[in-house]
């Protein structure tokens, strides 16, 4: 079968993760923040898959399954929260929602 250098896979996952991170830090719109989180989760999942593939064990994929479940749950609740915020503050700007501070 094909043989891809392991680190390339990880590098890919790494770049995707970092891109998600940039999105998280840059965007003020909460939806984009949530989207970047999705990217990061997906990148992490990818890293698991690469590792699973390298060892030839299904564990990587099972881990990805759990990540999928978690990510689905997270999105559901996240979006619910976004709706509430939007309803209360009429805006999606992350900075207005900053009551919780020192």
């Amino acid at each position: 079968m094909i043989s891809i250098p392991m680190e390339f896979g990880l590098i890919l996952a790494g770049t995707l993760f970092v891109l998600g991170l940039i999105g998280l830090m840059v965007r003020r719109n909460i939806i984009f923040v949530l989207m970047s989180i999705e990217i990061m989760i997906n990148a992490a999942g990818a890293a698991f898959i690469f590792a699973g593939a390298k060892w030839g064990e299904p564990d990587g994929q099972i881990m990805f399954l759990f990540i999928l479940a978690m990510s689905a749950a997270e999105v559901a609740v996240g979006l619910g929260l976004i709706l509430q915020i939007y309803h209360k503050f009429q805006t999606l700007d992350g900075d207005t929602v900053s009551k919780m501070r020192g």
């Binding site: 830090m25 840059v26 923040v33 900075d95 501070r101 020192g102």
Partner: protein
């Protein structure tokens, strides 16, 4: 009879306790009876014991009576024991005798004052502590009396507590004497560490064996004791408090600041004379201090206007004579002068008291005058006292005692001519200011009206003390006048005799004549200036240098100003600058910095999501670098 010795100090203390506890409930009459009675009883007791002591002296002329063991820790075993020998007998005789008359006098003098029983309580406490001082056989008991006397002088000077001036004078007296007491306390520590005991008699035996002449320890111990004596007897460095102490009632000045307390220093040096003979340097220092003080006080007395301050400075000067006597080793002469001085100075103070009492608290001499006819008894007794103070030759007691000191200063083993010259000059000035005082107050036209005639209780003490001021001198006659040495013979049991270098009667006669001339000259000058034409005195002080000198002498040679600028003001300023303790800033500082640190930290929590994300990333970077690369 001697067993009743403990009663002598006990009676005044008992008087004090009764008056202090039940004073407010007692009537003035009963308070006076208790106050005067207690001192009277101990006076009679002293008389009895004196007769018993002189007629059949106990073993080696001393009798000690132990009351109880005060403290006993390791080697430090001071006990409350009373020790009676010739020296302490003379002192307790004078204290109780003069004390009784002064109490009698003040029973009427203080009659209208409020706090009558409080006054007698303090006076009894004073007499009690002075007797303990004189009778104490170990230096610690002496120190107890010493501080007790200091306390009573504080209480009595500040008796009229309403006006804070008196309070200030009282505190000044207590603090200045306390400086002397601290020096003496350190002397006590030194003596105890070297000899392991504070018992005076044991000290005097062990000192010559263990210490060599002029060894550092001996000099140090003697100097420290001298410091204590100087403080209490208002000698040169620490004499500023006595003139201000005149703020107290006049009987107080008579008893404390003339007869008894101020001579405590003389008693201390006489009592511990062996230490001073062991340190000749310090002994001459005593003489020099005495000489300088008598000159300084004499000149200052010349310029004073307040009758009590004149007497105060004359007291300092006369005690200077006693110190001079002690310095040259004329122990019994000094004690003799103490006795005579106690009589005539108490007389002068009481006389001044009558004048002030009669002219309702007028102190300034130049506002009096012409009292000769109005107060005959006071005038004559005052005149006798002044004559004795000025040492009018042959008839007054002052002459015999002062002359004895001058003779030993000149001829004595440690005497020297400069000191004698100073003594002579002192005698000359004394006669001037004494008779200036007499002529100004009693002669000239009357300026103030007399309110009321003095009662019997005021006159009796004056008369008795005047008699004593005259006859007291005859118990000790110099070679030239019959050589009767009753007093010095009596004193030899306690104090060593003074050797005289060249024993020649003619020389003694010559010195006496010189002294007599000096005194008479002084009287004439006083007469000339203050009776015949007052203008000389005024224009003397009006001109430039004369005014300057006058002001300089008037302020007590500027000692007060010097002490204020050197000690009092800096210390008060130093105390005031950090009123609330800069060390506190350290702790409030710690608290402050921690609060500030907290405030900075809270500012990092902005509540914005993106800021937290960045925080996480920074954290991640740091941990990764640390883990992977370091």
């Amino acid at each position: 009879m001697l067993e009743l010795l403990w009663l002598i100090p006990a009676l005044p203390f008992a008087g004090f306790l009764i008056l202090a506890l039940f004073g407010s409930r007692l009537s003035r009459q009963s308070a006076a009876v208790i106050g005067v009675g207690s001192v009277g009883l101990s006076a009679i007791l002293t008389l009895g014991i004196a007769i018993r002591f002189i007629s059949s002296p106990p073993a080696d002329h001393a009798f000690s009576q132990m009351l109880w063991q005060w403290i006993s820790v390791d080697a430090f075993q001071p006990a409350i024991t009373l020790y009676l020998d010739a020296l302490s007998l003379v002192f307790i005789f004078v204290i109780t005798f003069v004390g009784f008359f002064i109490h009698l006098y003040s029973s009427l003098f203080m009659y209208e004052e409020e706090g009558y029983s409080r006054f007698f309580a303090y006076m009894n406490l004073f007499v009690g502590s002075m007797l303990t001082l004189v009778l104490g056989n170990n230096l610690l008991l002496l120190y107890l009396g010493w501080e007790g006397v200091g306390l009573c002088s504080y209480l009595l000077i500040g008796f009229w507590y309403k006006d804070s001036e008196n309070g200030y004078a009282a505190r000044k007296a207590f603090v200045v004497t306390r400086v002397g007491d601290t020096a003496m306390a350190i002397g006590l520590f030194l003596l105890f560490t070297s000899f392991g005991t504070l018992d005076i008699q044991k000290l005097l035996q062990q000192a010559p064996q263990e210490w060599t002449i002029n060894s550092t320890q001996a000099v140090l111990a003697a100097a420290l004791l001298l410091g204590g004596a100087v403080g209490k007897s208002a000698q040169l460095p620490l004499q500023t408090w006595l003139p201000d102490a005149m703020a107290g009632p006049t009987p107080v000045s008579a008893l404390i600041h003339a007869a008894t307390m101020v001579t405590a220093g003389v008693y201390l040096i006489a009592r511990t004379h062996v230490l001073f003979t062991l340190a000749p340097a310090v002994q001459t220092a005593v003489a020099v201090v005495g000489a300088l003080t008598l000159l300084m006080a004499g000149f200052t007395a010349l310029t004073q206007r307040d009758i009590k301050r004149v007497l105060a400075y004359s007291t300092i000067s006369q005690i200077g004579y006693m110190f001079l006597g002690l310095g040259v080793g004329a122990w019994s002469a000094a004690v003799f002068h103490f006795m005579t001085h106690a009589f005539f100075k108490a007389l002068l103070f009481l006389g001044a008291g009558v004048i002030i009492f009669v002219l309702h608290h007028e102190h300034d001499m130049f506002k009096m005058g012409g009292l000769r006819k109005k107060l005959p008894v006071t005038f004559w007794t005052f005149l006798i006292g002044s004559a004795s103070l000025a040492a009018l030759p042959l008839i007054t007691a002052g002459f015999y005692s002062k002359d004895m000191i001058l003779w030993y200063t000149f001829a004595g083993e440690q005497g020297n001519d400069w000191l004698w010259a100073a003594g002579l000059a002192g005698a000359f000035i004394t006669s001037i200011y004494t008779f200036r005082m007499v002529f100004v107050t009693f002669y000239g036209e009357a300026q103030a009206e007399i309110t009321h005639k003095p009662g019997m209780q005021l006159k009796v003490p004056l008369i008795v003390l005047a008699v004593f001021s005259l006859i007291a001198g005859f118990i000790e006659l110099p070679h030239t006048l019959g050589h009767l040495t009753l007093f010095s013979h009596f004193m030899h049991s306690a104090l060593p005799p003074t050797e005289v270098l060249h024993e020649s009667v003619s020389l003694e006669l010559l010195l006496q004549v010189i002294a007599a001339i000096a005194v008479l000259l002084g009287i004439y000058i006083a007469y000339h200036i203050f009776i015949r034409n007052r203008s000389i005195a005024n224009n003397l002080t009006a001109s430039g240098p004369g005014a300057l000198l006058h002001r300089f002498w008037y302020s007590g040679w500027g000692f007060d100003k010097v002490y204020d600028t050197l000690f009092v003001n800096p210390l008060v300023w130093f105390a005031k600058i950090n009123r609330n303790d800069f060390i506190d800033l350290i702790y409030t500082g710690i608290a402050g910095t921690s609060r500030e640190f907290h405030r900075q930290l809270t500012r990092t929590q902005t509540g914005r999501l993106r800021w937290y994300a960045t925080g996480i990333v920074i954290g991640a970077i740091i941990t990764i670098t640390v883990v992977v690369y370091l």
